[in-house]
């Protein structure tokens, strides 16, 4: 799911058996992403839609990295993946629709 991350490429070679070294590497990656997230909010002129999109993308990368590797969902059977991602996408769709009906989403960010 977060296949673009450097940690995931490393992890895929190890398939099911991530080692503590892998976990440290993934944590380092997550820490760096968090630092980038915080840093870009302080860059003058880097704001508006660009900032919003960047923050959302970075947040999604972190979210999916933890789910796929720390929670091992990448290595679990289809059923578990289905339940979780179905719930995730369902929640997103429902709440975006609800907030849109309040005309409250587009001016949120």
């Amino acid at each position: 799911m977060a296949a673009e991350t450097p940690a995931s490429q490393e992890a895929e070679e190890h398939a099911d058996h991530l080692s503590p070294a892998n976990y440290w590497a993934i944590a380092l990656f997550l820490g760096i992403v968090t630092a980038v997230e915080v840093a870009i909010t302080y860059i003058p002129g880097y704001d508006g839609a660009l900032l919003v999109i960047s923050l959302l993308v970075l947040g999604i990368v972190k979210f999916l990295t933890v789910v796929a590797f720390f929670m091992h969902l990448k290595y679990e059977p289809f059923t578990m993946n289905f339940m979780f991602y179905f719930g995730l996408l369902g929640a997103l769709a429902l709440f975006i629709a609800m907030l849109l009906s309040f005309r409250a989403l587009l001016d949120t960010f």
Partner: protein, 661 residues
Amino acid sequence: MATIVEAPPVSPPASEPTGGIWAWVTTVDHKKIGIMYGISAMAFFILGGIEALVIRLQLAVPDGVIVNEDVYNQLFTMHGTTMVFLFVMPVAAAFGNYFMPIMIGARDVAFPRLNALSYWTFLAGGIFISSSFFLGGFPDGAWVGYSPLSTQSEVIRMDFWALGLLILGVASLLGAVNFITTIFTMRAPGMTLFRMPVFVWMQLVVAFLLAFSLPLVTVGLFQVILDRNFGTLFYDAATGGDPVLWQHLFWLFGHPEVYILILPAMGIVSEVLPTFSRKPLFGYQFVVFAGAAIGFLGFGVWAHHMFTAGLGPVAETAFGLMTMTIAVPTGIKIFNWVGTMWGGNISFTTPMLFAVGFVAMFTIGGLSGVTHAIVPADAQQHDSYYVVAHFHYVLFGGAVFGIFSGVYYWFGKVFGRMLDETLGKWHFWLMLIGFNLTFAPMHLLGLNGMPRRIATYGDGLGWNYWNFIATVGSFIIALSILAFLVNAVRSYRRGRPAGPDPWDGRTLEWSTSSPPAEYNFAEVPVVEAIDDFWYKKYGEDEDHLPVRLETNPLDPSALESDEEHHVHLPSPSYYPIMLALGIVTLAYGFLWIPIGFAVMAIGLVIMLLAIFGWALEDIDHPMGDADHNGGDHQGEGHDDGGGDDAAAEPIGALTESDGGE
């Protein structure tokens, strides 16, 4: 065929109760829990029915004086709350508990103790809400609990309502997780997903609907409670809060909820129609996919309950279109049921009559439902008796007819004796006539402008005649229920013995004894087809007509009732009921803060003791491991939440986090 492994008899822990009421209180057997669900739900059904009769008496003539406005508000609120949350949902859980594991060839659900906790939490929540009658009056803000009715009244009635629904939500959520896990992991060999009976499929869809929709109303209910007790401003329009948010959160749950109510009945009917038409279900895959599609689409239509709330034309158009789309999978199902009966060798037994009644009445309710999808028409129908007529056609004409179909179909399996057919037919015809007399006139009343939730109406509005007819009809329904109760009590005592397979059934539950042994199957069945049991009984001749085979496919337990089969079963446990007691004590205490803090503390202590007892139960009796190979409860490494010692902890902990929500 799986072999029976004869294990040495399990010596029960010293504390294990052996019989009487404690055997029921501590049971973790899905069948006993199913029976308790069913009986409790019937009791609440009678309670909700009495409330309905008082409502109808009040409305029988203009300017009714039976009850005042305050009591009337309480009555219709509790009628709705009781029938939805304390009757139809638990009855579906009753059938699901009793038959879902048997129908997939399992010996119990995945987490038997969690299952017991679901039941006791449901019962505690039901008693909690109903007890408000003695403690200041029933809730009075309607079953939808719209703010400000739910948030601005001073008395604690709506606290009872919100807390009670939270407790019931915990029960349903645990049940849903349990059912999902059971269906995904505990099917007998060969029981692929697309060989499962449609009833099991519908239970699976319902479990997903519950798991995904309950948290939404949970958040809303917490907001109501916080607004009422801690001064938060979620629904306070004066400071920028928005009561429409509650409508969204409620109907985001509430619309999937109506499919939670109807899909189990659809599942029952999909079992009954083939059995009594002596034909396989027409288009099995279509019925399954249509059921899943109804569940999926059901999440995308909630705002059609809010067409008069001012959502704007774009949202109203989108939700109107989505709502009409649901008619497609529903129509598919109805045509498949008709196709099942077409050309069949139909026998009109009582369960079959109720099933056919379901199809007919539900179709009427479905059609009036489509009229609500048309936004301008809905603006006229909103909050009128037309809506009352519509949802009673789907929920009474649909769900209740389906439920009674299931009761007559499976009563013999559960209690070993058949319900009486003559009284059963009286029940059906009285109910069909009474139902139509009660609710068909409400279409006319609604279109003539009679609003819902009014305690009385003036003379000369043109509503007198049909209101009187509706009241007469409601008492005919009551009479039919009386016929059922007499039938149930008499047949339980001295009905015709059922035998293992009284209806020449198609699914696995008919291959066991009636009632089934505690372990369900002495030999775990190996499944080779949809309606496997039928194809083990019947072959085909050259004209493709069924021919009875010589072999006897019954499970050994159905034949040799005296023989002891030593199958390891989870031990009974006191902790589920204790935990439920702790939860409800906590809720009672909350109502009378600050004095209630002491009660809440007691509740918390009970809960903590129960959770720790639950978690450590198997560590102190580490027989689970020893028996795992011999008894073979559910296969290697698979645990029932009661067998594998330390494993129980996260389940207790999971419950704890639920209680905290």
